[in-house]
Amino acid sequence: MGILISLGRYMVFVRRIFSKPEKHGIYFRQIFREIDKLGVSSLGIVAIISFFIGMVVIIHMTSSIGNPLIPTYYFSYTARDVLVLEFSSTVLCLILAGKVGSNISSEIGTMRVTEQIDALETMGINSAAYLVQPKIIGMMITTPVLVILSIFIGLIGGWVVSIAGHLMTSADYIHGIRFNYDSFKVLYTLIKSVVFAFLITSISAYFGYYTKGGALEVGRSSTLAVVYSMIMILISNYLITQIMLG
């Protein structure tokens, strides 16, 4: 019963977020601020993680399926699919759920307990729309860009370890990542990233927005936001994969 009530409240919250803005110009400017705050600030962590994961994936491929009968370019081909299909969208978004989700939830939760949200409402401003809509749109624009960047940097990481570790030649590596290329898989991963971006932002904002109490509850909301965002990412990952590739 509690889950149904929360789900209903979440739906109402999302409807409020997407109600007509009081002034489009203010929201438009906010979107760029959120792109900078949530997206651009995540570039560093995305680059580092993707680079090292790209390296590790290639090492795993060569050690697990390394066989004289298997052409070496298959390792980079498989690594590319791992990065494109799962790592750079799903795993990256799980990481972003921790970083961005806790940031959003604690920011909005603090605004709630310090009556800043009440102040917005008493001014006649739709606080849910003003605070959350630019974050959702900003993340839905930024996340696919981060995913593409993650794929690219992951592939560079794989190339570096392949050459430095003498696992394969540069020509084989490049042949592998171009082999049997299917642009639909990239489309699939971009669609997933947009859905995940929406889930991370809206769920985290929901937990922050309905925080009651003080600092302790803000921390609790932040934890719940990350946990529920991750669960919903995993569930929606399965559903989208079943629908698009199943």
């Binding site: 002034k23 009556e115 009440d118 102040a119 409402e121 001014m123 006649g124 401003i125």
Partner: protein, 247 residues
């Protein structure tokens, strides 16, 4: 004028307000006093639409506020200025941006007109040249004054303040009291202030409503409060040794 007719509000089975009726008059500083937990903040939150009363009505002039849906109430609130207990300034915005925010949303003024209005409001609360400061740079009293400046930015008809001088030293509290009183008279605003500070009562309380355990227990002027024979009121007003001596 704000009129409250038989407002009741409960949370779970705990009755916080019980059939409270009152009239808050225009161009007067109307104080709502009472012990902590007497229902003052709940009454104020009902007045601004943060809580929906279980029964009863709230009228702003000839407009029945309790008859409006949440979106209509939000639009109606553009006529109100609200000062929260902690100031509720937006941490990420400068003082100027805090005061300018309602103008950005609800006016078509040019940038210069907005800046002129911001500077006027800051002058009015005796904080000129603080435009670029962040809330973190301000003292408690300055935060309250910026909150008042923000509340009057759009010339509201109604000003509602929740314990505006709580946590302030007596001198700063007097400054805040006088400021609200001056603004009320100058702009002919209907002001409602929640407080349990007896200094405020004696200095600026044109009309006083005393709540006890969610009920209206007494109402009158600051002159009448000293001569009232209401025991509950006297227990509250003359709780301190200073007030006993004053009596």
């Amino acid at each position: 004028m704000i009129r409250v007719d038989n407002i009741s509000k409960s949370f779970d089975k705990n009755n916080v307000l019980l059939e409270v009726s009152a009239v808050f008059t225009e161009a007067q500083t109307n104080l709502v006093i009472g012990r902590s937990g007497s229902g003052k903040t709940v009454l104020l939150k009902c007045l601004i639409g943060m809580f929906e009363p279980d029964s009863g009505e709230i009228w702003y002039g000839n407009d029945r506020f309790t008859g409006l849906d949440s979106d209509q109430q939000r639009i109606f609130r553009q006529q109100m200025g609200v000062v929260f207990q902690g100031g509720a300034l937006f941490d990420s915005l400068t003082v100027e941006q805090n005061i300018r925010l309602p103008m950005d949303f609800f006016t078509d003024w040019t940038r210069d007109q907005k800046l002129e209005r911001v500077n006027f409001c800051l002058q009015r609360v005796h904080l000129p040249d603080s435009n670029r400061l962040l809330p973190a740079d301000l003292s408690g009293g300055m935060k309250k004054r910026v909150a008042i400046a923000r509340a009057i930015a759009l010339n509201p008809k109604y000003l509602l303040c929740d314990e505006p001088n709580s946590g302030l030293d007596p001198q700063t509290a007097i400054v805040i009291n006088n400021l609200i009183h001056e603004i009320t008279l100058e702009f002919k605003i209907t002001t409602v202030i929640n407080t349990h500070d007896m200094n405020s009562v004696m200095e600026i309380g044109d009309s006083i409503l005393f709540l006890s355990e969610g009920r209206k227990c007494w109402e009158g002027s600051r002159e009448e409060i000293l001569t009232s024979d209401n025991k509950v009121l006297n227990d509250f007003v003359f709780a301190s040794e200073l007030m006993k001596k004053f009596k």
